[in-house]
Subunit: 328 residues, 2 copies
Amino acid sequence: MPVVNRSMIAQQTEAAKLASLRVVLLAGGVGGAKLAHGLAAHLRPENYTIIVNNGDDFQHWGLTICPDLDTVVYTLAGVANPETGWGRADESWRVLGEVERLGGPAWFRLGDLDLALHLSRNHALTNGVSLTEFTCELTGRLGIGPTILPMCDRPAPTLIETDDGLLSFQDWFVRQQWQPPVRRVQLPEDVRASYQVLRALEQADVVIFAPSNPFVSLDPILNVYPLRAMITDLPELTLAVSPIIAGQAVKGPAAKMMQEMGLPVTAVAVADYYRDLIDAFIYDVQDDTTWPDPNFPYRRLNTMMYTPTDRIHFAGELLQFALELLDQ
Amino acid sequence: MPVVNRSMIAQQTEAAKLASLRVVLLAGGVGGAKLAHGLAAHLRPENYTIIVNNGDDFQHWGLTICPDLDTVVYTLAGVANPETGWGRADESWRVLGEVERLGGPAWFRLGDLDLALHLSRNHALTNGVSLTEFTCELTGRLGIGPTILPMCDRPAPTLIETDDGLLSFQDWFVRQQWQPPVRRVQLPEDVRASYQVLRALEQADVVIFAPSNPFVSLDPILNVYPLRAMITDLPELTLAVSPIIAGQAVKGPAAKMMQEMGLPVTAVAVADYYRDLIDAFIYDVQDDTTWPDPNFPYRRLNTMMYTPTDRIHFAGELLQFALELLDQ
């Protein structure tokens, strides 16, 4: 039965290609974490690195909090809160309640289990361990196979220039629930990548931009020197996934920000925003936008990741698309 | 009925004297906290200040922990763990358990409610609030009347020179359960008192040394410049309470340390140790030591404070003794 044989050979070839494919995902918070998790089902852990935005890191209760990084870690460890996408499942709030009673700030909701990570990290950082080293040790202990890297080891805070003045990211995002209209996102100068981030990008066959916010999740990573130049110059295949579906953001302020920044709220506008960096673009099957440039590779996929099964399925189709492009 | 009247007048005089008596207590942890609590039942809050050792402060999980200070605060707020004397009643350990699972250090047992204080303080300190200011705000919020002051606002770590080398205080005290034999206690140079501490001492009629460890609780306070000189020079009445009863410490390493330092383990040796600073001494009725110096005022009282009632009773007798000495 030659048909079956051909199919088997094709499957084996596919599997062999996937087994050697070196992938770097650039990710923000919840959307990035879901795709990160989906990809982990297909890729060899030693060939797979997730570089996470930590421009949203901030100091709270004197601790360094890394919301996006922790969301990715919790999701890959299988301990994330499935309802919110961030924070821990089976969380409790005893410390927060008491901090509030003692007059401390309680607007940023840190649960007891979540706090344990912040305290462990605070212990490590104050003892001279880098954020990258700590994250590496943590993921090992949590049984996470892929490498999760913060985009950099020094504080690189994203600031939001709003109609209400210049706000720190979490002040704008959580405290004010991203309501103050955004004029501009201010990214710090002179942030440098760790050698772990550089090495992962140098070795990558495929770089994927997660369906995260282009301005406050992906741009902070790309702003880290010399990542934008590397992604432009290196021969690897770069793909981006649209966080905008039919004029709306799946989650968070991406659509609202595009409007405020005078951009059309479309997947195509996102693709244009990344245009100098990417080789192909993916947007959702629910979005009936006609792709404007027949010479620029794109694919419409079911990008909605409601369940872990959705994540794995979407990640498989995305990788299939990548392999096809690499074959060309 | 003139007898009754005289008694009433005497009581009123006593009450009036107590109402205007300005008292400063120098205190370490559990024993100091109990006497601090007992005295609060008799004194006007505005006339009563507790200066607490914070030579035992240390950094853990990147937070500033002030064990003695917190023990005094919890005791006066009525939220201390009645079994241990330190930590919070109705405590839980969810964060600690998770920190341990994540590979963080768990030898110093920080409960969830206790952590809320350390985090609130860490938030304040990292925002430029002094330890004194924070403590003042905290005690106000907890409904504590008397003023509780850390002995100083800058770190002033007590170090323990042992047969096993130089150890930080909590490493020796908690981690190694004060087992390494002590050669010498090293106190820092150039620690200066806050103006709040200076003012309280300047205005005091009576200074009381709590039945705390002379070497690691009282000496660190007295070592803060210029407290030793002030207590020697100012005309206030200074009383000390023995932490040693019939050759044993009520709690902790005081007796063991005296032995290791070549001192007799007696109340009289404690009195001798404080001799240049104090005007009178109190030791326990259970201790049948004969007082050696008939010219030096002393009193034997029931100093054991098992219950809150014990504390109040002992504090009342102590103040009675102080008033008698002031009348002379």
